[in-house]
Symmetry: C2
Subunit: 517 residues, 2 copies
């Protein structure tokens, strides 16, 4: 990895080790977690003492009386768990570090194990959560055992440098972004937001119907260019832009979608300082954060590294904006979609208590938090079964798998694409490769528009049997002239062999359009 | 049940029987359902031919190419299922009609069974859905096999009298209501909505922050009074109300929360006609619909009926507004929360195609639909394991259980409450009993305000060891004078014995405040 072992924020390997053992001690001292149906709590309950600043577990208005011994509740319309027709649930999962599918599916008890979730495990004293709780109504703040795990994980990985940060589970980052935009932006005020000039299309589709105009910052191979950001904000002309000067930056700092670009620590510091200068709030969307890979080495592939320990893995990750956030101006969105299972529809946000409180009030009416069965399934695996060490081992293994996939795609590009017209920067994070086609070398340049040629190559590629994403689908300001011609390719799902065939087919479509052999 | 066997819309027992067998035939004819990861489809695929009016399964922009044989996708960033660390999942569930908890938990294979969901069951040809699909991204329209079941169920129970109705799974009715209000109402336009004068507090909390003003229709023991609705709309004064004339009615027609009131068929017809007259759109929120009970008979409890067949059960249900909806002016919200498990966070809406299309566009950015694991868990149980008949048998059994619970609470009220000051209408649907206290008989009437006395009784009841909900929590227009003093008690969760004790404690608190023996 290309990051120093001792980061600016003082997060070294030995400090990560200390944090891990602190979490173990803290839990042992706190004793068994007692949290029944719809128990309310916040991150504060589970943070290291130094970050505790607010009273823990504020029960809501009426449910606070439920603590009275002997009280009979005729209050809330919560169904009785005896009418839940699910009595036991099991999941077959891998035992770290045996993460290959065949290992876990095999009946060998050394590589795979079966997790059992009973209906009344809490009552029976065999677990801290069960079906009778998870299948009933919960709080929009999420299930207490899952909040504990997420809080500890957040502390372990990001360790925000202020006391009153909070986490809150979400129904995934798509929904979290929608809520966040509604919280911070107002159509009637003419609000706008800044983002990369090529941005995640679903994010753009979230903003536009809310009447919030997105503006794109020019990018280089490290992400948004600070000078472009500064220039835009310093010379903002409300009339010309038909929008108020933005107060919010939406960015995907690691393995950006669609460009695959990762912001270096230096770039992040620069952008953060500019956000301080212009008083911008930062929303960082980091689904690919843990897929940070070693640099690609052409011909020989990436270094086959010695097995990595979890402390070095953690210390080697580029710091989150959250880690640099001395002002409380960052909301980070994490997701289990890219590192475990998208179908759980569970992620979480981390931000200052003030912001999270407003987010929760919104979640209470927008969705009441994520599915209870998703939450217990994740908690059982991540916390009760794997623990922090097991989960981090999983993330290392996953990153290694994605590194192999990336290398296979890049090797195919090296071999088959016409380098006279196609160029790319090998991605160091995520799932995406961004291919740039040299418009000026096209035989029909400049008479035929970029979009036309891009469309032709896309259609021909589909005919040849390969589907890529068109660069123009991701343009933040589609009404302005395009800065270049791009295609996005993912190495997330196809096999190495299929990727080789796919790149040959794409190459053929490009050669045809450019009329080269 | 007090409803005629032949309803106005011609839904008789034999017609329900025919519909059930039609569904079986239709499925047999359609053959195996083929629907992979994030497969897109709508209700039309699964309706009886007569209701088919739009082409089925319109795949989205880019994913439509995925059907090309041999195509390699480097397009979407969907993770490969080999990295999902869940390989098999089982659920222990009851076999109809053995629905008691002890039956299903027992190892006896005649009363309980284990459902198994493998990772690659579809590939292996042993199921129509599996973990590799459910744990990946899905469509906001929900999982095709679940949509099929919900479509058939909706047709079986409500059978809307127009062709282009659609269903769409939701993350529960709380979130569905929020989306619906955003779809139909606009703060900037000064929009308002009509609802019952006492309404579900979470619904009110959803409207108010959006800047939508709720107004309450006077109620009697059949729900909103038509004359009150007509009078309000006919004489609407925008200035005095500080709001535009409402174009939306939000109502809970069956077992209303908090009053427990159920609108008769005649009342529904009357309200629907008035909505036609004033061109109002109707949002009906029906979580308690299937908990329609026989009338309560004091002293002897309810009739111990002979086992009911599912066709009679269906034909005996009071028709939904959806069933009366000849104009396409109804959006119905259904939920699995009160009849299966609230923690699944799954419900669905039914409305015209035009409205559902807009709802889906919103869901795509608000939540991407419900959790995949919740959807497969419900589908495996309801469809693949129980089938329509099994699920309807479950609903009959559940309704019978709630009837016993209601009867126990009502018997306790008959026995312990001071009838000189407390009155109530025995509910025929749902989970709630609404107790009215005669303010005019209170020793401090009229000098001491209703809210004060209500608060005193509430606090004393909590001290005595019983929690009820205060009527004032549910007031649609809290700034207007209260029309009476109320408490809401639920029979959903406490045991018969505990409810008896609870009502004695409440009675004690009332007697103390009213200074009666």
């Amino acid at each position: 990895m290309n990051h120093p072992a001792a980061l600016s924020n003082g997060t070294t390997v030995s400090e990560k080790r200390k944090l891990l053992s602190n979490i173990r001690e803290r839990r042992a001292k706190a004793g068994k977690l007692v949290a029944g149906v719809a128990a309310a709590c916040t991150s504060d309950t589970f943070k290291a003492p130094v970050s505790q600043s607010r009273p823990p577990c504020i029960l809501k208005q009426a449910t606070r009386h439920l603590k009275n011994p002997g009280l009979v509740s005729l209050g809330g319309g919560l169904p009785s768990s005896e009418y839940f027709p699910f009595y036991e649930c099991t999941f077959r999962v891998p035992i770290p570090p045996h993460f290959s599918e065949s290992d876990a599916i095999s009946p060998d008890s050394a590589t795979g194990q079966t997790i059992t979730i009973g209906k009344y495990d809490v009552q029976a004293g065999i677990s801290e959560c069960d079906l009778s709780i998870s299948l009933n109504y919960g709080q929009a703040t999420g299930s207490p055992p899952l909040i504990r795990f997420i809080t500890e994980h957040t502390e372990l990985v990001y360790n925000p440098p202020y006391a009153d940060w909070q986490v809150c589970p979400t129904v995934g980052s798509t929904g979290a972004l929608e809520q966040t935009i509604r919280m911070f932006c107002d159509r009637e005020r003419g609000d706008s937001i800044l983002t990369e000039e090529y941005s995640f299309s679903t994010a753009l589709e979230t903003l536009v119907p809310q009447g919030i105009k997105p503006f794109g910052i020019q990018m280089d191979d490290q992400g948004p260019i600070p000078e472009s950001l500064d220039e835009m904000l310093s010379s903002w002309d409300e009339k010309a832009r038909e929008a108020r000067k933005p107060h919010l930056l939406y960015t995907v700092p690691s393995g950006q979608n669609p460009t695959g670009v990762t912001q270096s620590l230096e770039r992040r510091r620069c952008i953060y300082a500019l956000c301080q200068k212009h008083d911008m709030y930062i929303v960082e969307d980091e689904p690919y954060y843990f897929l940070q890979m070693p640099p690609y080495q052409a011909k020989q592939g990436s270094d086959q590294q010695a097995p990595e320990d979890i402390e070095s893995f953690l210390a080697g990750l580029i710091p989150s904006y959250l880690t640099l956030d001395v002002d409380g101006r960052v909301l980070r969105m994490d997701s289990f979609s890219k590192v475990l299972v998208p179908g759980s529809r569970v992620g979480w946000i981390t931000a200052s208590a003030q912001v999270v409180e407003r987010f929760i009030r919104h979640a209470e009416v927008a969705n009441q938090g994520p599915s209870g069965i998703s939450q217990i399934m994740l908690w059982k695996l991540l916390d009760e079964t794997w623990g922090h060490e097991g989960y981090l081992t999983w993330l290392i293994d996953l990153k290694n798998n994605y590194t192999k996939r990336r290398d296979a795609l890049l090797a195919a590009c090296d071999e088959f694409l016409p380098k006279t017209v196609v160029s790319w920067t090998p991605p160091t994070t995520g799932m995406f490769l961004w291919l740039k086609l040299d418009y000026s070398q096209h035989p029909e340049y400049p008479s035929r528009p970029i979009e036309d040629i891009e469309g032709e190559i896309f259609e021909q590629a589909v005919q040849n049997g390969v589907l890529c994403a068109r660069g123009s689908w991701f343009r933040t300001e589609p009404s302005t002239p395009a800065s270049g011609m791009f295609f996005r390719a993912t190495f997330a799902s196809a096999s190495a062999k299929a990727m080789g065939i796919a790149i040959q087919r794409l190459s053929q479509a490009i050669r045809e359009s450019y009329r080269i052999e």
